[in-house]
């Protein structure tokens, strides 16, 4: 399901704090990688002639998995390519990313998917999986040929960017996708409630005069899809949750035994609709930044595991498309290269969420959602490693990015937490 450049590198990381919360590992030791596989953990390991990296004072953790990236290919290679997007992912500490199919053309046929996979094998710095659309052209009318797409290598199915509006069609997708054996990932938005909405509906939209996109536009769709999933006994994954009511609905459904998972973005975990007062188009995304209470619920959901995955929803946009008034700007912000630092700065440092929780929700959590192999630090496992400097601070500048686009919500901010090294599927993908 994942495709990228091949490589089997040798490496020794000495003296880092080796932290894999799922494996129950938290110790200072050396880690040796032989030909892309973790070969030994211990102290004073023989380098065997391998490249040696000094990890003293740093954290070595399982590398991250981003379940929600827009690579913009095919169609908008000016905004991102497989090469630039995966280089950005590597710089952000990711060993695997999943790309959404809302491209031009939409990834809804084996032909389009096949050509993407071929390109990824040649160009991807970290392995990429491609989701295919749930409906042809993401038009919400006819299901795609899910079995053929899965056989071709689709990592899952999503109409991300668009909801599946018709409940009858949503039910058919829930019934059928199990045959293909891949997860359905749903963008929950009731379009007649969100329509023309520019930001969260509340006191700030009332004051600024923006058309409101109320949280209930998301949560009614979350409730509907969870009800259908419960009825069909089908699993599902909820994309980019933003509202308290959505988190509570997901928690309730999980308690009743529905096999439902959810994800949340760093920007929804770090910001509220207060930030939109700046009218900066890099604070415009779908779903929108919500209230402080919604943010608190998202953080609580991340902590208690209701929300098992952090997803960047990395959405590159051309500069000229964001240099316009807020209302004219497209939705979406980049995130691959800032996700860990943003969460470390905004959640871990103030003591809101433990480092271990953030590491798990950025790696094992998203891998579990899509049935990907869990990145882990264990002898015999493929090397998927990230070396983190949690003491380093850096300022986010346009020049910071490997992504082709710079529409970051963090431009000009100083963050704590830097990626020093990324090993993805046994291959050195990034080194600072």
């Amino acid at each position: 399901m994942l495709f990228g450049k091949q490589g089997k590198d040798d490496l020794v990381v000495r003296g880092a704090r080796v932290l894999d919360p799922v494996e129950g590992l938290d110790t200072v030791c050396d880690v040796r990688v032989d030909a892309g596989t973790i070969a030994q953990l211990g102290t004073s390991l023989d380098a065997n002639g391998h490249r040696v990296v000094d990890g003293a004072g740093l954290v070595l953790a399982p590398a991250f998995v981003d379940p929600h990236v827009h690579l913009r290919v095919p169609g908008r290679e000016d905004e991102e390519t497989i090469a630039s997007g995966t280089a950005a992912a590597a710089a952000g500490g990711y060993c695997a990313i999943l790309a959404m199919p809302n491209t031009e053309p939409v990834v809804d046929s084996a032909a389009v998917l096949g050509s993407l996979i071929e390109d990824a094998q040649a160009d991807a710095e970290v392995p990429v999986g491609f989701l295919a659309a749930i409906t042809r052209g993401q038009e919400g009318a006819e299901l795609t040929e899910m079995v053929e797409l899965a056989e071709q290598g689709a990592a899952g199915f999503s109409d991300d960017g668009q909801p599946v509006v018709a409940p009858g069609l949503m039910r058919r997708a829930l019934q059928y996708h199990g045959v293909a054996g891949r997860r359905l990932a749903l963008h929950c938005e009731e379009p007649t409630l969100s329509r023309s909405g520019q930001m969260h509906e509340g006191a700030i939209s009332a004051e600024l005069g923006f058309a409101g996109y109320p949280s209930v536009a998301e949560s009614v769709m979350v409730e509907r899809d969870l009800a259908l999933a419960a009825y069909e006994e089908a699993p599902l994954h909820l994309l980019h949750l933003s509202a308290r009511e959505s988190v509570e609905a997901l928690r309730g459904a999980q308690a009743r035994g529905v096999e439902a998972t959810g994800e949340v973005t760093p920007h929804h975990l770090c910001l509220t609709d207060e930030a939109v007062r700046t009218l900066d188009p890099n604070l415009k995304m779908n779903p929108p930044l919500r209230s402080a209470d919604d943010r608190a619920a998202l953080i609580e959901g991340l902590r208690d595991g209701t929300i098992g995955a952090v997803a960047t929803d990395h959405a590159p946009h051309a500069r000229h498309e964001k240099e316009v008034p807020f209302e004219a700007a497209p939705f979406g912000v980049t995130g691959l290269e800032t996700a860990f630092a943003a969460l470390y700065t905004s959640l871990v440092e103030p003591g809101l969420v433990a480092l271990e929780t953030v590491l798990e929700r950025m790696s094992a959590g998203p891998a579990h959602v899509y049935g990907l192999e869990r990145p882990k630090i264990a002898v015999g496992a493929p090397a998927n490693l990230v070396l983190l400097d949690t003491a380093a601070t850096w300022r986010v500048e346009e020049e910071s990015f490997r992504s082709r686009s710079t529409n970051s919500w963090l431009l000009g901010q100083t963050l704590k937490g830097k990626i020093r090294l990324t090993v993805a599927a046994g291959r050195m993908a990034f080194e600072a």
Binding site: Q198, A203, S205, A206, E207, L208, G209, L271, V324, E327
Partner: protein, 331 residues
């Protein structure tokens, strides 16, 4: 769980550098308003003279850029600049490079190349004046951006109220109608509460934005709530902003029957204001519009002197943070 801070202070994007603009009433202080109103008053005396033109802004250039149709605001700004002897240039979106797909950024850069002192902009999108401010060195005056702000309208309304009632503090203003789509309502709520007036918003629930009470006003869905007000401020039903099929109200007929401002719904002595243009027979009964208690024409007159005051203030008062001089006295 631990306390969650709304946002870390340093987490906000950087703000643009301070330069004197009039973009939002939210940016001005009570002192600013007092100064602007006092200057406007002295200009009103100058306009009573036979030769109405003042040499004050000779050599300055004021560019008006209107991306939306406007009669009173554009003519008022143009005349205000001319009365102060500034050179003026007016650009309408229709027939300009905007028609050819030029972006607002490029239009701003183009106009900025002429080094205008002031750019007055009206635009259908919120934040357009801030964007122009980012790409030019001119002082920016917001003549209306989407549903966001129309600060000179709010100032001229304050001026009108003070001239009529002798005060603003403690005055009760009921704003009636389509608040949701109204930049006039938002600017006026901010301006009136800033000056110590009491504001009640009245209209059908779908046209009152959720959460607007946080601006410091009260909300009622019952037209009877206008009875307690000193001033009834009637908003236009903005039909061009009504999305088709959005069903904010079932029909204009039902709106008029339920929320129209009619003679029967007014007390004697209640003053009526309207930012124009009016839909007679929809939000305002023609008898009310033409009655002696209607201040509508006086609002238009106030618009001229207030806009003169704004142009004068931006070009003569110096940078933000520097103490302002006394209001201009016209000899």
């Amino acid at each position: 769980m631990g306390e969650i801070h709304v946002m870390r202070e340093g987490f906000l994007p950087p703000k643009p550098p301070p330069r004197r603009h009039l973009i939002s009433i939210g940016d001005v202080s009570r002192d600013d308003v007092e100064r602007l109103l006092a200057t406007a008053r002295s200009f009103s005396r100058s306009l009573e003279r036979e030769v109405k033109k003042l040499p004050t802004l000779r050599g300055h250039t004021v560019v008006n850029v209107f991306y939306e149709s406007s009669t009173r605001t554009s003519s008022s700004f143009e005349l205000a600049a001319k009365r102060l002897s500034a050179d003026t240039m007016s650009i309408k979106a229709a027939g300009s490079a905007v028609d050819k797909g030029e972006s607002l950024k490029d239009t701003a850069l183009t106009l900025g190349a002429y080094d205008p002192d002031v750019i007055v902009i009206r635009h259908p999108q919120i934040g357009a004046p801030q964007l122009v401010a980012r790409y030019t060195e001119a002082h920016i005056v917001n003549a209306g951006d989407g549903k966001h702000q129309h600060p000179t309208q709010a100032l001229l309304d304050l001026y009108t109220i003070r001239e009529e009632l002798g005060r603003i503090e403690g005055v009760h203003v009921a704003i009636v109608g389509d608040v949701l789509h109204s930049r006039v309502a938002r600017s006026n709520v901010q301006a009136l509460t800033l000056m110590g007036a009491q504001v009640t918003l009245v209209g059908p629930p779908p046209l009152i934005p959720r959460g607007i009470e946080a601006m410091g006003c009260e909300v009622s869905h019952d037209i009877a709530a206008i009875g307690a007000a000193d001033i009834v401020y009637v908003l236009r039903m903005q039909r061009e902003r009504m999305q088709e099929g959005a069903n904010y109200v079932p029909s204009l007929r039902e709106y008029t029957a339920r929320w129209g401002v009619t003679p029967e719904r007014l007390r004697p002595g209640q003053k009526v204001m309207h930012p124009g243009p009016m839909n007679r027979g929809v939000e305002i009964d023609p008898v009310v519009a033409d009655a002696a208690d209607a201040l509508i024409e006086r609002q238009v007159r106030a618009g001229l002197v207030v806009r003169m005051s704004v142009l004068y203030d931006l070009l003569t008062t110096g940078p933000v943070g520097v103490r302002s001089p006394e209001p201009l006295e016209v000899a």
